[in-house]
C-alpha cells in the first residue's frame, strides 16, 4: 500500500485505455507551428482542441508587446501584488477590461481557475447560499469548497429547478449567489441566461457568469453570453480567463459592485500567489484590443464552428445541442472513444478525449474546439478524417458529401 493507493480506481480506468494503446495524457508535440498546426511524431497535425478561439497565440503584435514588456520589466513579478506591488501592466489591463465590459471595477488573477476559487469563496460566506449548475467546471466546484457558504446544486441549464430551490430558501437568511457558465466547456451548450436572469430578479439573488469559453466568441462586441442574451444589467459579476480567446494565461472578474475592491484584501487566491508576469499582461492587453477591433475574427470563428458542427451532425454523429466553437461528439463508451481519438491523431487531427468523471452524464466525448484561424480547408480536412475513421470503426450512416452540400 502506498499513500496514493486510495486513487487506484482512476488508475484502472486509465490502464484500460493504455491497454488499447491510447494515452491521452502523454501527447507530446515536437513543436507547435501556429494556432492551428503542430508537429506530432514528425507529422504536421491539425490542432482542433486547444480553445484558441481567436487564434491570437501567434499574433505578431501580441508577441511584440510581450517581448517589449519582458525586455523592459523582466520575466516575472516574483511575488503577489500585496507583497511586491502592482505593475503598470496590471493596472492598465484592469482598466482595459473594465472599459471593455462597461463596468466600474476589474480585478486580474493569475489563472481563470484561481479567479473562480477567489471570487466564489469570498462573495459568499457562512450562512450564505451558493447555487451551482450541476455541470459546472471543476474550478467552480473547487471554489465552492474553499468557501463557507452552503452549496446547492441545480439541474444543468434548468431555470425551473433553480427557481424551485431558491423558493425553498424563502425566509432563510443569507445572500444567494447563482453561478452559471456562458458556454459549457464539454458540450458547447449555452446557459438559458434570460430565464436565469428572470429567476435572479424574482428571488433577489446575485448572478455570476463564467464567460471562460464565450469571451470573444458570443455577443455583438464579443463580451460573451450576457451580451448575446441582452441581460448584462442582471449579471452582477463576470469571471473569465485569458487562456482561451486571449491566447495567454490568467483570469479576471469585473463588476459594478461599489465595494468591489474589498476583494483585494480578503480574497486569498488573489493575495497569496504571484501576480502575472509583464509579458503575459502585455500580450493579453494587445489581444483584448484585437478582439475589440476585429469583429471579423468572430465571424470566421462562427463560420468554421458551424461548418464543423453541421458536417459532423450530417454524418450522423451525435453532437451537442447547438453549433458553437466547442463541438463534442458523444461516443458509446470510453474504449471506443479512446480508439477513435487515437486514430484521429494518427491521421493528423488532434482533438480532446473527454471521459468520466470530467464529463456531463458520464459521457465519453470526442471534444473539438474551433479557431478563427482555421482555414475552411482545415475544417474540411478534419471532417474528412472524422469520416474516414468513422467509416473504419463502423459509425457512418450518411455520406460526408451531403454535409458539404448542405453548407
Amino acid at each position: 500500500m502506498t499513500i496514493l493507493a486510495k486513487h487506484a480506481g482512476y488508475r484502472q480506468a486509465y490502464d484500460a485505455l493504455l491497454a488499447h494503446g491510447v494515452d491521452p495524457l502523454n501527447v507530446r508535440f515536437d513543436s507547435v507551428l501556429s494556432p492551428t498546426e503542430g508537429l506530432w511524431n514528425g507529422r504536421r497535425t491539425i490542432l482542433l482542441g486547444t480553445n484558441n478561439y481567436l487564434g491570437l497565440t501567434f499574433d505578431s503584435d501580441c508577441i511584440e508587446r510581450a517581448v517589449e514588456a519582458t525586455r523592459g520589466q523582466g520575466t516575472g513579478t516574483t511575488g503577489s501584488r500585496v507583497a511586491n506591488g502592482t505593475y503598470d501592466g496590471h493596472k492598465r489591463l484592469e482598466e482595459a477590461l473594465a472599459d471593455f465590459y462597461g463596468r466600474e471595477h476589474a480585478m486580474v488573477f493569475s489563472t481563470g481557475y484561481q479567479a473562480n476559487l477567489g471570487v466564489l469563496s469570498t462573495l459568499v460566506g457562512r450562512g450564505d447560499h451558493l447555487m451551482l449548475d450541476a455541470d459546472s467546471h471543476a474550478s467552480i466546484y473547487d471554489g465552492s469548497r474553499l468557501g463557507m457558504a452552503e452549496v446547492i446544486r441545480f439541474r444543468h441549464n434548468n431555470p425551473d429547478d433553480l427557481y424551485k430551490r431558491l423558493r425553498r430558501l424563502e425566509g432563510v437568511p443569507g445572500d444567494r449567489l447563482i453561478v452559471v457558465e456562458g458556454i459549457y466547456s464539454m458540450l458547447g451548450d449555452t446557459a438559458p441566461l434570460k430565464e436565469i436572469a428572470a429567476v435572479k430578479r424574482e428571488t433577489g439573488a446575485y448572478l455570476l457568469v463564467d464567460e471562460a469559453h464565450s469571451l470573444g466568441v458570443l455577443g455583438r462586441t464579443g463580451r460573451g453570453l450576457a451580451e448575446a442574451a441582452g441581460v448584462e444589467a442582471d449579471v452582477d459579476f463576470i469571471v473569465g480567463t485569458f487562456s482561451k480567446s486571449l491566447g495567454s494565461v490568467g483570469g479576471f472578474c469585473v463588476s459594478d459592485s461599489p465595494d468591489f475592491d474589498l476583494l483585494r484584501i480578503v480574497c486569498r487566491p488573489y493575495m497569496f500567489t504571484a501576480s502575472l508576469p509583464p509579458g503575459v499582461m502585455a500580450s493579453t492587453h494587445e489581444a483584448l484590443k484585437k478582439l475589440r477591433a476585429e469583429p471579423a475574427l468572430r465571424v470566421n470563428l462562427m463560420r468554421n464552428a458551424t461548418r464543423l458542427y453541421d458536417g459532423l451532425t450530417a454524418m450522423g454523429f451525435q453532437t451537442g445541442p447547438e453549433p458553437n466553437p466547442i463541438v463534442a461528439v458523444t461516443m458509446p463508451d470510453q474504449t471506443t472513444a479512446g480508439v477513435f481519438w487515437k486514430m484521429l491523431l494518427e491521421s493528423g487531427l488532434y482533438i480532446n478525449l473527454a471521459v468520466p468523471p470530467a464529463t456531463p452524464a458520464n459521457a465519453s466525448l470526442l471534444r473539438t474546439s474551433i479557431s478563427a484561424a482555421h482555414t475552411i480547408q482545415q475544417i474540411d480536412t478534419a471532417l474528412d478524417i472524422f469520416a474516414d475513421v468513422g467509416r473504419k470503426l463502423g459509425f457512418l450512416q450518411s455520406d460526408r458529401r451531403r454535409a458539404a452540400g448542405a453548407l
Binding site: A134, S144, E150, V151, I152, R153, L169, P357, N362
Partner: protein, 78 residues
C-alpha cells in the same frame, strides 16, 4: 420513509433493490457519482428540499440519508 427511498432507488437504478438502514449507498448498490447525483436529485424532488453538497458528502448509508432528510424537513439541520 424507507419504502419511498427504496422506490426512488429502483427508479434511478432501473432494477429492484433491497435496502436496510445499514445499506451503503455506493458500495452495496454499486452507484457511481452520476448515479448518486441523480438519486439525490430524485430524493430532493420527492421530499421538496435541497440537500447541500456538504451534507451529501456525509451520507454513506440509508440511515444517514433518512436522518438528513428528516433534519432538513424539520429545519433542524446543523
Amino acid at each position: 420513509m424507507r419504502d419511498d427511498i427504496a422506490a426512488i432507488f429502483e427508479q434511478v437504478l432501473g432494477r429492484p433493490v433491497a435496502i436496510s438502514d445499514d445499506t451503503d449507498i455506493v458500495e452495496d448498490l454499486g452507484m457511481d457519482s452520476l448515479g448518486v447525483m441523480n438519486f439525490v436529485m430524485a430524493i430532493e424532488d420527492f421530499y421538496d428540499l435541497s440537500i447541500p453538497l456538504d451534507r451529501v458528502a456525509q451520507i454513506q448509508t440509508v440511515a444517514d440519508l433518512i436522518r438528513a432528510v428528516e433534519e432538513l424537513k424539520s429545519g433542524t439541520a446543523a
